[in-house]
């Protein structure tokens, strides 16, 4: 029997449910020269599928006051549906139709291609985004994580309908998982595989040999290795965006729990080190934090701060100090215990809505992790000591890359400061 694996999570909600369908393989699998193909395909999947053309589809979804999205993330295509429980039987088949029979009409491609290119262009208005793009390029180069899931303008212009069709044809044989969280009609569980769309998915999978997609980790687990550790992008702004980070580990790697604990210590909440040090002790930044998303390959681990030009030197110095001391001095008992409390608290915070619950379920499956991975992490947490965190930092946080975005004259000063920091 083909079709997605089904995970059910009944939760008391005010008559709503959230469904998340994850297909493995996302923008990290975009071929070079076709960067943006997964996202472009994702956007076209909501523009006509199965028995519905693009207008009928929009009428059906919006007419029920529901929300339907399909997005390419780095590691997968994620289709999200949120609707009233009573509408589930009518709307869930859309998820399968999008996978089995996306129409991919040329006029819709023209429209979505244009919108993607414009969205990429508008992203350049945000200095933070420019700094992220620079960092990604520096850390991953031409690797799968080296570009925004939206793609690259040049590649988007060159993408043909045939290329997208080939990509779409392979969707039914990708590993997939569907999680439904919330309240739904009691008959739905048994009926789901026989709903229109899902039935066709079964048939499509039976015909094809179960092709295994390229292992995700192999595509992007090796970050770019070059000697370059600095990228600067001059723009006429008041502030400088400073990003210091490294491509690290996959979610689920034995050492990643320590990194996530360091993430709590450095960047989670107002008691975090970066918040205290940069905001409270020095007042050099409003926006400061740490970014470490869950990825199948080497996930970024990035400290960031946006700061006035005249204080950019001290900001860089504070970030660098915060980075290097992770491997040179162990966390105090108090800081370690606070980080652990925050880790536990954050698990509860991330399980507030049916949408969060469903997404975590499919994410864990997509990463090849056990359903009780989070509970196991909570147990493993107890055994982690300051020495373990120090060892992991020394091993995985030894070669940070710096991305700077702001006024040219300031970037020159900071580049010199970075060179002497490394010497």
């Amino acid at each position: 029997m083909g079709g997605p694996e089904l995970l059910l999570e009944p939760i008391n909600t005010p008559g709503v449910l959230s469904a998340k369908l994850l297909l493995e393989g996302g923008s990290a699998q975009d071929a070079h020269g076709s960067r943006g193909s997964h996202q472009l395909l994702a956007s076209l999947m909501t523009r006509g599928c199965g028995p519905h053309d693009h207008l009928q589809l929009a009428d059906l979804v919006e007419g029920r006051g529901a929300g339907l999205r399909c997005e390419a993330h780095e590691d997968g295509l994620l289709i999200s549906l949120r609707c009233a429980s009573d509408d589930a039987t009518d709307l869930l088949p859309l998820l399968a139709w999008m996978v089995v029979d996306a129409h991919l009409r040329p006029e819709q491609l023209t429209l979505e291609r244009g919108l993607s290119i414009q969205a990429l262009q508008r992203q350049r208005e945000d200095p933070f985004q420019i700094a992220v793009d620079g960092w990604r390029q520096l850390a991953y180069g031409n690797g799968g994580y080296g570009h925004d899931p939206l793609g690259v303008e040049e590649d988007l212009r060159a993408l043909s309908l045939d290329q997208l069709r080939t990509l779409a044809d392979g969707l039914t044989s990708r590993p997939s998982v569907l999680a439904i969280a919330g309240v739904w009609p009691s008959s739905l569980d048994a009926a789901l595989p026989f709903l229109p769309g899902f039935q066709d998915w079964n048939a499509a999978t039976d015909q094809q040999s179960q092709k295994q997609t390229t292992s995700q980790a192999s595509v992007c687990s090796s970050p770019q290795r070059s000697d370059q550790t600095l990228i600067t992008q001059p723009i006429a702004t008041e502030q400088v965006v400073v990003m210091l980070g490294q491509a690290t580990l996959s979610h689920g790697h034995p050492d990643d729990l320590a990194l996530r604990l360091l993430q709590c210590h450095l960047g989670m909440g107002m008691s975090s080190l970066l918040f205290r040090r940069l905001r409270e002790e020095h007042g050099v930044a409003y926006d400061v934090g740490l970014h470490h998303p869950s990825r199948a390959g080497s996930a970024p681990f990035i400290m960031h701060a946006s700061t006035g030009s005249e204080r950019a030197d001290i900001t860089l110095q504070l970030l660098a100090q915060s980075w290097w001391e992770l491997a040179s001095s162990p966390l105090s008992d108090e800081d370690l215990s606070l980080a652990k409390s925050k880790f536990i608290g954050q698990m509860a915070h991330a399980q507030q809505t049916s949408s969060q619950r469903a997404e975590r379920r499919v994410q864990l499956r997509g990463l090849g992790l056990a359903d009780d991975h989070d509970q196991r992490c909570l147990q493993d947490l107890e055994d982690l000591g300051a020495a373990d965190l120090k060892r992991v930092a020394a091993e995985h946080l030894s070669r940070p890359c710096l991305s700077l975005c702001g006024p040219q004259s300031k970037l020159d000063d900071l580049s010199r400061a970075w060179a002497s920091e490394l010497s």
Binding site: G63, L111, A119, R122, G283, Y286, D287, S341, G345
Partner: protein, 428 residues
């Protein structure tokens, strides 16, 4: 209409509210959510930027920052550390009308968190050295907004549309107004605004039986009751200066076409819900009028978003369209044509039904987390509208296609808007 009734019926299952008041006028509301993993404590105060006097511009927001710098009983940082060590989190936000401070916390820790929160908000130290340091952080926040071209365009629209109203100036204030402030003037603002009748405490989650008792014994009950109105800025109905402006904005990557209209104040709930339906019908989703025409059919716009901001002195409706600079004339013409058209001919039944479903479900989707529920309950209770969370949906029924055409769409005509066109380029 069957579907609509189905929606309304199941919506009745949303969290139940319980309202009461303390002797000094503090309004309290609790929402019972037995399955919530975290309890939300949300303290609201009528101390947004519109309650600032001349020379206080930006103070409501700056005070929100200063609150977290410690109280007479809690040194700076102690609150954050203790809340986060309990597995909780905290944050705050300042708006035009009000400010709120909230804590998310495991239910059994809620009494302790409540004491900490009230201590922090009601008795801030406002120490000079922290004041000077935190002002630098707020100035960085202002700089960060200034580096976002779309934020600049939106602020410019508000300034031109509401030049004589608090809603027309930035909540963050200006660099000059912040530099002119001192802890004494901030203390005066705090004493003036943080009073019993100006405050509302909202709690959502697993409610412990003795919660009410602990609130009644808390510092909240000790707040002075009366509201000193002798030197309050006069609240006045919002008016919008109609007109058409063009500006150039540096680092803008695509052109923007914006319009802003005044709309009924929050207290006029029937009109507010009508406006919600109207803006949904015009611009939410691919089948809405503006998105269908401008983006899907004519393909002259990348996005077309209409927002209803519900406010106490008069709500605001904004339309923002991103497009290529060359397409600006066509966009302007088509927007005007669409707005004229809904005035001349009532919308179709399916369009109204679609809008009702979208508005109804948006509220229903917002009732899942204790943070959202606490915020929704407090936002209404603070301003004297103690009502069920789903009460606003009852107002939807009275809006027919003809009533929308006759009463609402005429308010959203192009000539009644403040229009702003922003082109990429050097600052003009």
């Amino acid at each position: 209409m069957e579907l609509c009734h189905a929606v309304l019926n199941s919506l009745a299952l949303g969290p139940l509210l319980n309202h009461w008041s303390l002797g000094n006028g503090v309004r309290c509301v609790e929402a019972t959510m037995p399955d919530a993993s975290l309890t939300c404590l949300d303290l609201w105060c009528r101390a947004g930027s519109s309650s600032e006097q001349h020379h206080e511009e930006g103070m409501a927001h700056f005070l929100e920052h200063m609150v977290f710098k410690g109280s007479f009983n809690l040194d700076a940082g102690v609150f954050d550390r203790e809340i986060e060590a309990l597995g909780g989190s905290s944050n705050a936000a300042t708006g035009f009308d009000d400010v709120h401070f909230h804590v998310m916390i495991p239910a059994d820790k809620a009494p302790r968190a409540l004491d900490l929160l009230l201590d922090l908000v009601l008795e801030p130290t406002l120490a000079e050295d922290h004041f000077v340091m935190e002002r630098e952080v707020v100035l960085e926040e202002i700089a960060q907004y200034a580096d976002q071209p779309d934020e600049r365009v939106l602020q410019e629209l508000l300034a031109r549309a509401c030049p004589n109203h608090a809603y027309g100036r930035p909540i963050l204030g200006w660099r000059s107004s912040l530099l002119a402030m001192d802890p004494g003037s901030m203390r005066a603002f705090h004493q003036r605004r943080y009073r019993g009748s100006n405050c509302c405490l909202s709690v959502a989650g697993k409610i412990e039986p003795d919660l009410r008792q602990s609130i009644e014994a808390s510092a909240l009950a000790g707040l002075p009751a009366a509201r000193d109105t002798s030197c309050e800025p006069k609240e006045r109905p919002l008016t919008v200066e109609c007109g058409r402006h063009e500006i150039q904005v540096e680092r803008l990557e695509s052109a923007r076409f914006l319009m802003l209209w005044p709309m009924a104040a929050a207290a006029m709930q029937t009109e507010v819900m009508g406006a919600d339906l109207a803006t949904t019908l015009l611009s939410e989703g691919r089948r809405s009028r503006l998105v269908a025409q401008l983006r899907e059919t004519l393909r002259i716009a990348d996005t077309a978003d209409m927002d209803l901001t519900v406010l106490e002195q008069g709500s605001l409706v904004t339309l923002e369209i991103c497009c290529q600079e060359d397409d600006l004339p066509a966009v302007e013409q088509e927007v005007k044509r669409q707005l004229d058209h809904v005035c001349d001919t009532p919308p179709e039944d399916w369009e109204l039904k679609r809008a009702r479903q979208l508005v109804g479900n948006a509220l229903r989707f917002a009732l899942e987390s204790s943070a959202q529920v606490a915020g929704l309950a407090a936002g209404q209770t603070l301003w004297g509208r103690a009502q069920d969370l789903l009460q606003p949906l009852n107002e939807l029924e009275s809006w027919t296609t003809t009533r929308l055409q006759q009463e609402l769409f005429p308010q959203l005509q192009a000539h009644r808007a403040c229009t702003l066109i922003a082109r990429p380029g050097a600052i003009s």
